[in-house]
């Protein structure tokens, strides 16, 4: 397909600068109506997307009764309270005291960062090379061709993880990987690898092979061409894959609760722990969720353009 042949540079340049301005017909009422509609729709959806986040964020400053009475606006219908943050030892009055739940929170936060970054990096390293190989060469592995290899990776995405509970417990016990960060990193790598391969393969497919041919003629080896020429071009795609991986790893709950005990625990189990036989601590769950989502929001704000840019080069395929 032609779109796939679009040169990567063009695609990147186009998305970085935005599309060329369209000619505006001045005085066109229908067009003005269209504008109004577009902004109305954008604002409505912004509200839908952000309201639950606003609700979560403000709930972190509510007392229980403010939640159960549906109060919404701080200082107007409820007085903000530090209770949620205090339960994590992160409020002004507790931040300088020793606080068990803060120690726990910090430990898990650090673990979450290490595990997410570790798994995403490993998945990116393994996935990019696989994707490049599948994009550029024809493999035969017995009766398996490229399509089968691709599908093999894709199929790892399908199985509901819960049925791997006993097998992984037994395997990890045998390998002494239980409650280790490296153990968690390996599982998460497995989990996000198919997505990385899928994103990166689309990415490589849009890069014309002429680029490597030229490098090869100049005396590069195939790996040299890949590392020195292709990877820099595919960087936005790698960032996109990396971010998707981080988000998925960051919020992963099941394996984290199963395979960790003390040393390698991550945040999601602590979020879930805010509910139980005593109902729910709205304030502390909201505070925890807010604290847990912050790193991702920052990633979203600063790297958002890479996500779209990275997928842009590929998804026309």
């Amino acid at each position: 397909m032609e779109l796939g042949q679009l040169s990567a540079e063009v695609a990147i340049r186009a998305s970085a600068k935005g599309r060329p301005r369209e000619h505006a017909h001045s005085g066109d009422l229908a067009r003005a109506g269209g504008r109004v509609f577009i902004y109305a729709a954008l604002i409505v959806w912004t509200f839908i997307a952000l309201f639950p986040l606003y609700w979560t964020f403000t709930t972190a400053f509510k007392l229980g009764r403010d939640v159960t009475q549906g109060h919404m606006i701080p200082w107007v219908d409820f007085a903000p309270s530090w209770k949620g943050w205090q339960s994590l030892g992160l409020s002004p009055d507790s931040i300088f005291q020793s606080w068990q739940s803060r120690d726990e929170f910090v430990k898990r936060f650090v673990n979450s960062i290490i595990v997410s970054l570790g798994a995403s990096t490993l998945a990116l390293a393994l996935g990019s090379t696989v994707a490049y190989g599948l994009s550029r060469f024809n493999y035969r592995f017995g009766r398996w061709g490229n399509k089968d290899i691709s599908f093999f990776f894709l199929s790892q995405l399908i199985l509901p993880p819960v049925v791997l509970a006993m097998p992984f417990l037994v395997l990890y016990k045998a390998l002494a990987l239980l409650d280790t960060r490296i153990g968690l990193i390996l599982v998460y790598t497995l989990m996000v690898l198919p997505i990385v391969i899928w994103v990166m393969r689309d990415q490589f497919d849009t890069i014309p092979t002429e680029i490597e041919q030229a490098a090869l003629v100049d005396g590069c080896s195939i790996w040299g061409a890949f590392l020195r020429v292709i990877l820099p071009i595919a960087l936005p795609g790698m960032v996109a894959a990396f971010i998707l991986s981080i988000v998925l790893c960051w919020n992963e709950y099941f394996f984290s609760s199963l395979l960790t005990g003390f040393d390698a625990q991550t945040l999601p189990v602590m979020v879930a722990s805010q509910t139980g036989s005593q109902g729910i601590n709205w304030w502390s769950m909201a505070a925890l969720s807010t604290a847990a989502i912050l790193p991702l929001v920052l990633i979203g704000i600063f790297l958002e353009r890479y996500i779209v840019m990275g997928l842009t080069a590929g998804s026309g395929k």
Partner: protein, 369 residues
């Protein structure tokens, strides 16, 4: 090893390694294989208690496997030259994935044909087709599978919304970056938080803002999770809230890759916006759309967290998903034999479904281009 490269999409001159290096490669590989087998045998002897080498775990075998993997890579390069270097691209990923899943898969298959229940008094044993027969007669499974049809179809609605929003984001608008980040954020909230903050708080019958809004709009007693269809729809709405951003990103990326000259040409012809969308944008976007939909369907088929937390499958199984049912059987009831059977059968169903879907869409996509 039967991994070979026969020609390529990328034309590379095939080199042939010298006999000496090929010989070296073969020896490296043989040696590593011997070490791997030796360590494996020692581990088995130790684990079965035949001999005692003081091994506490299978780490040595893991390291031997790592060594063997490296040797395999070296073997490829040394014996097959250029083709070996090319094989090196997929080998690490393949070996990693195989190493991670081969034991769980085989062990899982074995479990699927046993009566293993963790609370069972005696140890588990092979029980043939019993689990499959139970599954065939399991109304809960079929009910959940039926619900999955609804959830999968809801992906199409999500797709339509996401497409619309992607078009808006792609239009000439101010504050584009703000809108893009805003639209992306829901994807980042953890499922547990989504369940509680939205399902059990915003959509709460009495104090939830959504219920208040619904009352204001004239729905007298807004119960989002009581009648089957409304409950299913509510779950789909929450699920959509989380995943629409993902689709928006993919579709937006597709839109931005569209060549501008085609559109410009259409505009010169005086095509209306709708005609342009129908004749140009939509067909050109089909491949990107299909990728987005297929990936989303795969995720959708694993939908569980929100259902477990918000409705526990109720009312009367109306919102149950296969995955949430598997959770109940496998975790709440520790019935891991039967739970694994359900999952394996479901896996096969999904693979068939996805294969058919890919076949159908790839035929369609080729026709389109």
């Amino acid at each position: 090893m039967g991994l070979s490269v026969d020609g390529g999409k990328l034309e590379v001159l095939q080199t042939h390694p010298s006999d000496a290096s090929a010989e070296l490669g073969r020896w490296v590989f043989r040696l590593a294989s011997a070490v791997l087998i030796l360590v494996g045998v020692l581990q088995i002897l130790d684990a079965t208690g035949v001999a005692d080498f003081g091994l506490t775990d299978w780490r040595p075998f893991l390291y031997a496997f790592l060594l063997w993997s490296v040797a395999l890579g070296a073997h490829q390069v040394l014996t097959r030259g250029e083709a070996g270097q090319q094989a090196l691209f997929v080998l690490p990923g393949l070996l990693f994935t195989l190493a991670m899943v081969i034991f769980p898969t085989l062990f899982g298959l074995y479990i699927a044909f046993t009566n293993w229940n963790l609370n069972g008094a005696s140890s588990h044993h092979f029980n043939g087709l019993d689990n499959l027969i139970t599954l065939w007669n399991d109304a809960y499974f079929w009910n959940a599978l039926g619900n999955m049809v609804f959830y999968v179809l809801s992906v199409l609605v999500q797709y339509a919304i996401a497409f619309g929003l992607a078009l808006l984001l792609n239009a000439e608008i101010r504050a584009r970056k703000f809108f893009r980040v805003a639209f992306l954020l829901p994807f980042m909230l953890s499922p547990v938080a989504v369940s509680w903050m939205i399902g059990k708080s915003i959509m709460e019958n009495r104090f939830g803002p959504a219920a208040t809004l619904a009352r204001y709009l004239g729905w007298e007693d807004p119960a989002f999770f009581t009648s089957p269809w409304i409950a299913r729809t509510s779950i789909a709405l929450m699920d959509g809230w989380v995943w629409i951003p993902f689709m928006i990103i993919m579709l937006l990326a597709g839109l931005q890759a569209l060549p501008n000259d085609v559109k410009e040409a259409a505009k010169v012809d005086g095509a209306s916006a709708w005609q342009m969308f129908k004749a140009i944008t939509f067909p050109l976007m089909l491949p990107a759309s299909m990728t987005a939909i297929v990936i989303r369907i795969i995720f959708e088929l694993k939908l569980a967290d929100i259902v477990i937390n918000v409705t526990a499958g109720g009312p009367g199984g109306a919102t149950d998903t296969v995955s949430s049912y598997i959770y109940r059987v496998y975790r709440d009831r520790s019935d891991i034999g039967y739970g694994t059977t359900i999952a394996e059968v479901y896996l096969i169903l999904i693979i068939i479904f996805i294969t058919l879907l890919l076949k159908a869409t790839s035929r369609y996509m080729r026709k389109m281009v």
